[in-house]
């Protein structure tokens, strides 16, 4: 996944309150937030999370620093707040202003997420000066070095960092952008054992860099993992073990959200909606992983029947009609009497078209339309076009890669859909292609052998 930073407001914003907690001054961005929450200059702060910190700092008589999430009209805003009591009132400094979607599939909110223990992985941690503060003793025993002797030493006395395949040092961009470190190639000093390092960044109360929480794994272990395909049973188990409980979680969260069993606080209804949304995302991911496993298995074949592409296109559009009307987007589908015979698997073709139309809906602004047309030529084809923001030429090949998303901050999608769709199209003897230009929308064409 591409680790693009969210929209970050530059610099530090200020709020000044008088001795009685009334707002004297706020930078425009904060003033606007306060007005939207119902406040004004000369009145107490109206944003509850900020008002609470201000009050606490005054009562305790000390600096209070906290990360808070403030609900604003369209999105939530995360920010670091530092409230400093002064003789004539209170000064608040707000930094790291970051708009976030209500729920995102990445783990940015939890720095330690994704560093689950994996056999052969070991832990290391540093302070803000990148000096080692923790090393798993087991690592020393395994690779033959004295883990304890390295505690307190710079991280570079343990690891020698290497460039990755693109000639870059991932640790530099991780430190500069405060993003997760993924797959930094490195060698253990002294023994030269090749490793891949991952790390989450931790922050202090003001949002400043406070060190890394990392794991290291031997490259040898990694190769072993890649060489062995998952046993078929594993995928089946995964499917069975995840789908049922997830479906139950989604159903229960939906009924909590709908207050089906009696009234509940609106906060909780909102949390339940988040849980259901996250659950649905995971269910879709399970589906995709099962597909991915199937299409990457040697000897994967797709049934070749004679199908009516126009009919499949109409059905796919029909399946998304409700979502389209919610998004206030019209889907223009092939005429009811149109027909185009092709050779392929009905269910897989439907799956590809649902994916393409679903993507088009996501990128089409309200009031727009998504065109689904059949194209007769050497091959039988269906085109799905939108009037969204389009895709730059450089990105057009990348969107068909595994786990690629152009904008990872956007809700929905896991970067597998187009990869799977193209693999399926090719397995049926056809192809999936895209034409697009930034600002001009995108046009995806599914071509299958004529039936």
């Amino acid at each position: 996944m591409i680790a693009a930073p969210d929209r970050l407001a530059a610099g530090v914003l200020t709020i000044n309150l008088d001795r009685d907690g009334r707002l004297l001054f706020a930078d425009p961005q904060l003033a606007a937030l306060n007005v939207r929450a119902g406040g004004a200059i000369g009145q107490p702060l109206a944003v509850p999370a900020l008002a609470m910190i201000a009050r606490l700092a005054v009562r305790l008589g000390i600096v209070v620093s906290r990360a808070v999430t403030v609900a604003d009209d369209a999105a939530d805003i995360e920010m670091w707040v530092r409230a400093q009591p002064e003789t004539d009132g209170l000064r608040m400094a707000v930094s790291g202003w970051r708009e976030i979607a209500t729920w995102r599939p990445d783990g940015l909110r939890d720095p330690a997420l994704g560093l689950a223990p994996w056999p052969g992985n070991w832990r290391w941690e540093t302070d803000a000066g990148l000096r080692l503060t923790l090393i798993s003793p087991a690592a020393g025993a395994r690779h033959g070095f004295d883990a304890f002797a390295l505690l307190g030493k710079p991280v570079t006395t343990l690891f020698a960092f290497d460039e990755d395949g693109d000639g870059l040092l991932p640790i530099l961009s991780a430190l500069a952008g405060r993003t997760r470190l993924e797959d930094q190639p490195a060698r253990l000093r002294g023994t030269g054992v090749p490793l891949l390092l991952s790390a989450a960044v931790r922050s202090d109360g003001r949002g400043a860099f406070a060190g890394l929480i990392g794991t290291a794994r031997s490259v040898a272990d990694d190769r072993l993992e890649e060489d062995e395909p998952l046993p078929l049973r594993f995928t089946e188990e995964l499917d069975r073990a995840l789908r049922t409980p997830l479906a139950r979680i989604v159903a229960n969260a939906d009924s909590i959200h709908a207050a089906a069993e009696g009234p509940i606080g609106s906060d909780y209804a909102g949390y339940a909606a988040d849980i259901a949304g996250a659950g649905r995302h995971l269910l879709a991911l399970v589906d995709d992983l099962v597909d991915l496993d199937a299409i990457e298995r040697p000897g994967f074949v797709v049934e070749a029947d004679t199908i009516d592409l126009a009919d499949v296109a109409r059905r796919a559009a029909g399946l998304l009609a409700v979502r389209a009307s919610h998004a206030r987007v019209a889907i223009v589908r092939p005429d009811a009497d149109a027909s185009l015979l092709a050779s392929g698997d009905f269910r897989r073709t439907l799956q590809i078209l649902v994916n393409l139309i679903g993507n088009a809906l996501r990128y089409t602004p309200p009031g727009g339309q998504v065109m689904v047309e059949i194209v007769d030529g050497n091959l039988a084809g269906v085109c799905v076009s939108d009037h969204g923001k389009g895709i730059a030429a450089a990105d057009q090949a990348r969107i068909f890669d595994k786990f690629e998303r152009l904008d990872p901050t956007e809700a929905g999608g896991n970067g597998l859909g187009l990869y799977i769709a193209r693999r399926l199209a090719r397995a049926m003897g056809g192809d999936l292609t895209v034409e697009s230009a930034p600002g001009r929308g995108a046009r995806f064409t599914l071509a299958l052998p004529a039936g």
């Binding site: 305790l60 000390i62 923790l134 505690l151 307190g152």
Partner: protein, 346 residues
Amino acid sequence: MAIDPQDSPETVAARAGAQALRRSASVVADFFVAEGDRLDERTRLLLVQSLSRVVGVLDRAIRRDAARRLAQLGNHAAAERLLGIRDDVARWLSRPDALPDELVEELIVRVRHDQLAEALPIELGEADVPSLLVRLAGVPDSVVAAAAAALLAAESRRRDLADGDTGLTAELHHRLAWRVAAALRTLAGGGVAVDRALVEAARRSIAAHDEGEQVEAVAMRLALAIDARPAERGPLLIEALGDRRLALFIAVLAHALEIEYAEVRALVVNPTDERLWLCLRAAALDRTTVARIALALAEADPRRDIEVFADRLDTIAGIDPAAAGVALAPLALPGDYRAAIRRVMP
């Protein structure tokens, strides 16, 4: 419950009846536990993991050693029997009275300590200054430097339990080693040779255990080596919390008040124990320092109500340090003496 084909219907009925009674008694007892006294799910889970970790360490060490001794004596059948035990010894010991209460209490406090330490908000010092323990490990005073380096190592070891190291006090390691040996004896079917091998193996584990290298002992050593003057205590305590070195925070306070480490730790991890504020005042910490400590602890533990604390801050700050010291005097008595007083009280 499995019905053994050899059991008579009477035996089956009697066993099931006893089990139902026991279960019903537990449910009733659970009903009367006050909400605030009940372990939350997360703590309970961490406790189960922690228990299974320390028992696992002893189980592996004692079992392997005993089996090796049996094999050396040519008693391969008994060795195989020991190695072949499939039961989870930790679960087998997780019954009322099978484990010393003191061990479970210690593990609960430790789990709470670790949860609290992990959640403390990090406070950075000045730019380019190493974090507290790293800096102390590099000071010219070799006693302080060695103790700080030992604490860094002990905390690394605690979070990644090395084989054979339970991280317990000598007393608890000793008691648990015998319980584990007894469990293995029962599960392996006993016998003179097995008993002898298990006794030797347990004794070896007890002899090899060094409580002086545990986090608690090392933290106290460091606090003693630093021997902070009253004016230095506040900044040191604040910095220890900001570096998530809760063990050092506890040790510095314990050293200043001449109270045992375990006593101070119990106050720090308990969100409702007001004696912590008395400790901070007895250590002559000013209003600002007390407020900063309370804020850091409240940020780390949602059960602490900072608003209620803020209401009481002026009162707390007004407590005379000497009076606070007098109020805490019972805590400064040796733990064994206080436990004995409790026992002999009519």
